[in-house]
Every structure is written in structure tokens, then in C-alpha cells.
């Protein structure tokens, strides 16, 4: 029996205003080579100067993952030749990285696992290459140095992941923390979050690692899972037929659904690391670390726990609601507003009510992880609470409320206004409803006959007719009771 061993390396672009070692802007999408200077272009005579906020974001992230932030921290030059690297070395970290030895808990199919993080360090990003065609067929390539020098944070997990699902879960959870902290926007399509995986197989029970293959170009959660599934299959097949797995780098081709060899890692790059002479080492004092720690927001894991203990929400709900910071905040604000509007509700009842509506209705029209969309939704937390209050006090039925919700989402109006304008108020007048019930029963002798014969399903038809006759505005509970009373007397 073979065991899968996966480690993930994640590169995150930090949300600083300026680059890692110079004052050029980091905004995405500017015209090529319009956001560069002698430093990030690697011109002769240029020198790097470290961005304090990048270090701050690195420390913040390290603390969120329970890493040890090193006191002595220095930069190193990593040498290799590639046209997107202006100096043909990258200023990165080698022997004294910013932080080490942290962890991240993941949940896959109800089982929780702790994945260890080996190290976290800072480095500069490289430029962008465009190929006239594909990398293989292009006769020439074009270089844009706008991205060169953007701050990158690299986090390396230990090879603790045991399946493609776990790898995807790790990446998801990792990304959520980064976005929560506000250090990275987590946009995998634009490349602000990138992931490489190291995969190998070994006999179950063995502690030695098998031959490691690096997989690159995993630009979405889905692709992480697919690529790793493919690669595991590929390696398993190779081993079964007695072939040797080559230590190499492979590229995931999402279109064709396979990984293909990029270059052999047998001849590993000799990066010739040495301490960066142009940068002074950091001596990170505890006071600074403590200050950053004090400013950390509540992280997803803690918030999820609190939603269960404080609001009494089921773990499933807590999971969905805390997957993104804006959504979690939305829930809490809506719950608080609902309690104010309907004081008779307990905290638990209000929380569950808002939770249900967020999960079933709000998330149908908004992506959960679109922080901006959630924050700017026209149906604000207090407006949602306003709608739920109307349901709570019987002004409208749940079914009508769903329609109202749609209208509120589109127009930004509050529930009261819409209900009043369209006369959607629930009919709860017993005598009025009794009359309708009588009419419906009278109109349908066949169904009555069926009911008498024991087909209780006929009652459903009566119910439906009553709702139709009242354009859905009848209070369902009252209708149900009246029907039961009347039918039982017949």
C-alpha cells in the first residue's frame, strides 16, 4: 500500500503600496514597463532598500500560523539566469528566514489534521514574460518588469499532506488566513497567490521520502486537486511497472489534464546563496512582534469556534459563515440588528435565522469570498434583519419573504417599503381565511371524497389552492390549522 506525501510551497504577493526594495507602485495592470526604476530593473549601480511594511506583513502572517519569528533575519542572493530576473539573482532569504516552525489545521471530511509549516520568508517577485505563441514554439519572448520587485512571501509546508483533497484544503485555509489578515488579496487568477507542490509516494509505514516531483502552475484550488490526482496516478503507475520516478519539475496543463516534464531536477540548480551585502541584517525586537501580535484580527479558526460556542450555530453553519471575513462580519451585524428589531428572539434564534438566510439566499447571489461584493451588497445586514423581523412577527410569510429578498437585493430598498408598495402583507385574518378555506373545499368535491377515503395527500392540494387563491399571502400556519379543523369535522 502506497502512501501519498505532499508538501506545498505558496508564494503570496503582499498588499504593500510600494515594492520590496524600491518605491515603485505595485498596482496590477499598468502599461508594461511603466512601473519600474533603476532598482527593480537591476540597472548598474542600483541598490535595494527594504520595505518595512513587507516585514510587518511577514511577521503578522508568521504569528497567525504560530510560527517562531526569528530575531536575527537576513537576506541572501539566489543566483540563476532567467530574463524575467533583472539582476540574474533574486534577493531572497536562505539561512536566517523571517519565521519558522508553525502550523495550520485543516479539515477534510470531518477529520481535522495539523499541517506543519517549515518556514516563511520574504523575497522579491520577478517580471512577466510573454511568449509569442507558447513557451515551446515562440521564436522570441517579451519582458515586462512591472512585477519585478513586488514583495513576495514564500511559505513552505512540511510534507505532511496525505491526499490531493488535503492539499486543496490546506491552500484554501491558508488563503483565507492571508485574506483575513489583509496581507494578500488571494487572487489566484491574477497571480497574487501561487502554489507549487512537491509530490512523492512511499510504502505505507515507511519514514523515508520517495523521489520528489515538483508540480508548477497550480493556479486554482480545482487545479491543485486535479493536478495532484493526476500526478499521484502517474507515479503509482510508474512504480507498479517497476519504472523509476525521475526527480524533476513538471508543469500542470489544465487544458489537457496532465503534467508534463519541464526540466530535470536531477541537476538541481546551484543557487550559490550568499548573504546579500547591500542589505543590513534585521534584528527583530520582541516589542515590535508583540505590537503586531496585539493588532491581529480574529482568525478564521477562532472565529469559527466562537460562532459555535457563542451563537450556538451548528459547525456546518459556522464553517460556511467564517470562510471569509466580510461574510462573518455580515452575519454578526445582521444578527445584532435582528435582536434589536425583534427582542423576543434569543441570540441563538436570531443567529440561526440570519445564518439560514445568508446561506440559502445571500450566497445564491453573492460569492462568499468576494469581500468587496459582500461589503457593498445593497441588502445590508440591517436590511436583512428588517426583512427577517417581518417574517418573525408574521407580517409576511417565509415564501413571500424570499421574493422580497430578491427585490431588496436588486433595488436596495428596505423590506417595509416593498411589502407596503406591493401589498404583500400576509393575510392572518382568521375569518377571511376561513371563508377561503370553505370555498376551496366546496369547489373540490373529488378531493374531499379522496380525503374521506383516507388519502391525506388531498389536504396538500387544498392547502395549495388556498395559497393560490390568496396570491400566496395567506398565513400558512393559520391555513393549515383551519384546514385541519374543518376537514376533521367533515
Amino acid at each position: 500500500m502506497m502512501e501519498i506525501v505532499i508538501g506545498l510551497e505558496v508564494h503570496a504577493q503582499l498588499l504593500t503600496r510600494s515594492k520590496m526594495f524600491c518605491g515603485c507602485a505595485t498596482t496590477f495592470g499598468a502599461p508594461p514597463n511603466s512601473q519600474t526604476c533603476p532598482v527593480c530593473q537591476g540597472m548598474p549601480g542600483s541598490l535595494p532598500v527594504l520595505n518595512r511594511r513587507a516585514v510587518e506583513f511577514g511577521i503578522k502572517t508568521a504569528l497567525a500560523f504560530d510560527c517562531r519569528v526569528n530575531t536575527a533575519c537576513r537576506f541572501a542572493r539566489k543566483h540563476y539566469y532567467y530574463p524575467d530576473m533583472p539582476k540574474n539573482f533574486q534577493i531572497s532569504q536562505y539561512e536566517e528566514p523571517l519565521a519558522e516552525d508553525g502550523s495550520l489545521d485543516i479539515e477534510v471530511e470531518g477529520a481535522s489534521r495539523t499541517i506543519r509549516i517549515q518556514r516563511l520568508h520574504l523575497e522579491e517577485d520577478v517580471g512577466k514574460l510573454l511568449h509569442e505563441g507558447t513557451l515551446e514554439t515562440a521564436q522570441a519572448s517579451l519582458v515586462d518588469f512591472n512585477r519585478s520587485g513586488v514583495p513576495l512571501m514564500e511559505t513552505v509546508s512540511r510534507p505532511d499532506l496525505r491526499s490531493p483533497e488535503e492539499a486543496a484544503a490546506y491552500l484554501r485555509a491558508f488563503r483565507a488566513v492571508l485574506v483575513y489578515l489583509g496581507v494578500c488579496d488571494g487572487n489566484m487568477e491574477e497571480g497574487s497567490l501561487r502554489c507549487d507542490a512537491n509530490v512523492s509516494l512511499r510504502p505505507r509505514g515507511s519514514t523515508e521520502l520517495g523521489t520528489k516531483v515538483e508540480i508548477k502552475n497550480l493556479n486554482s484550488f480545482k487545479n491543485v486537486k486535479l493536478a495532484l490526482e493526476f500526478e499521484v496516478r502517474r507515479q503509482a503507475e510508474a512504480l507498479e511497472t517497476g519504472e523509476r520516478v525521475a526527480q524533476e519539475t513538471r508543469l500542470w496543463d489544465a487544458e489537457r489534464g496532465y503534467t508534463r516534464s519541464m526540466r530535470s531536477k536531477e541537476f538541481a540548480h546551484d543557487y550559490r546563496y550568499f548573504p546579500e551585502p547591500d542589505l543590513i541584517p534585521l534584528a527583530i525586537d520582541r516589542a515590535w512582534v508583540d505590537e503586531i501580535r496585539a493588532g491581529l484580527p480574529e482568525l478564521p479558526r477562532a472565529r469559527r469556534r466562537r460562532f459555535v460556542t457563542e451563537y450556538g450555530l451548528p459547525p456546518y453553519d459556522a464553517d460556511v459563515l467564517t470562510q471569509a471575513r466580510a461574510l462573518a462580519e455580515y452575519h454578526e451585524q445582521a444578527t445584532a440588528a435582528l435582536r434589536r428589531a425583534a427582542p423576543s428572539l434569543t441570540l441563538g434564534q436570531a443567529a440561526k435565522s440570519t445564518s439560514n438566510w445568508i446561506m440559502s439566499e445571500l450566497l445564491r447571489v453573492l460569492p462568499a469570498d468576494d469581500e468587496a461584493a459582500v461589503r457593498e451588497a445593497k441588502i445590508t445586514p440591517s436590511r436583512l434583519a428588517g426583512l427577517l423581523k417581518l417574517v418573525e412577527d408574521g407580517t409576511i410569510s417565509g415564501r413571500i419573504a424570499k421574493d422580497v429578498f430578491q427585490k431588496m437585493f436588486a433595488s436596495g430598498e428596505d423590506a417595509q417599503t416593498i411589502v407596503a408598495r406591493e401589498g404583500l402583507t400576509q393575510v392572518s385574518d382568521e375569518s377571511a381565511l376561513a371563508a377561503v378555506v370553505d370555498q376551496v373545499i366546496a369547489r373540490n368535491p373529488r378531493a374531499l371524497e379522496d380525503f374521506r377515503k383516507g388519502k391525506t395527500a388531498a389536504a396538500k392540494a387544498f392547502f395549495g389552492d388556498v395559497m393560490k387563491a390568496t396570491q400566496g399571502k395567506a398565513n400558512p400556519a393559520i391555513v393549515q390549522r383551519l384546514l385541519e379543523e374543518k376537514l376533521s369535522k367533515i
Binding site: P31, S34, T36, P38, L50, H131, A140, V143
Partner: protein
């Protein structure tokens, strides 16, 4: 003794194409220099901290402030092969 293979390997790492005649001359010269450098082995460096910086400063950092950058034209002015807004390079073969 630095070998010819070692010299070729280093030349590849350094992206330097050396001609046959250069290769042997380089090998001999490097050998002589490395022999001279070997005298460093005479010293006892146990417990000696390396000096990578002669500068008595720590934590030199700058504020996260955007500063005007080079206009696109100036950024591209020295390009040996410029195509529109880009630097162009010959095809890249993974090695």
C-alpha cells in the same frame, strides 16, 4: 588542482562561453590563484564570527511610500531590442 571539467562547469554556471585556448589558459591561471588563496587554510578560524558587513547598523528599512518611477520611455531606452512597450529576447529553451 582544478580540472578542466570543473572549469567547464563553472563557465556554464557563469554563462561564459570559453574557447578551447581560453579554457586551458583559464584553468592554469585559476589554479595558480587558488593555490595562493589556499594560504587561508593556515589560520585557525574556530569560533570566529564571519564579517559580512563592516557596517554597525541594524534594521535599515524604508516606509511603504510610492515614489515616482521612470517614465516608460526612459525605462526602455537602453534596450538592445525593444518591441513596443517590451524588451524582446530570443527564444528561451529550458536547460
Amino acid at each position: 588542482m582544478i580540472t578542466r571539467e570543473a572549469v567547464l562547469h563553472v563557465a556554464r554556471l557563469a554563462r561564459l562561453e570559453l574557447s578551447e585556448s581560453e579554457l586551458e589558459r583559464m584553468r592554469a591561471q585559476l589554479d595558480a590563484i587558488l593555490t595562493y588563496i589556499d594560504r587561508l587554510k593556515e589560520l585557525d578560524v574556530t569560533d570566529v564570527e564571519p564579517t559580512s558587513h563592516a557596517v554597525p547598523r541594524v534594521n535599515v528599512m524604508r516606509d511603504d511610500v510610492v515614489v515616482p518611477c521612470l517614465p516608460q520611455d526612459e525605462a526602455l531606452r537602453n534596450a538592445p531590442d525593444r518591441v513596443g512597450e517590451f524588451f524582446r529576447v530570443p527564444r528561451i529553451i529550458e536547460d
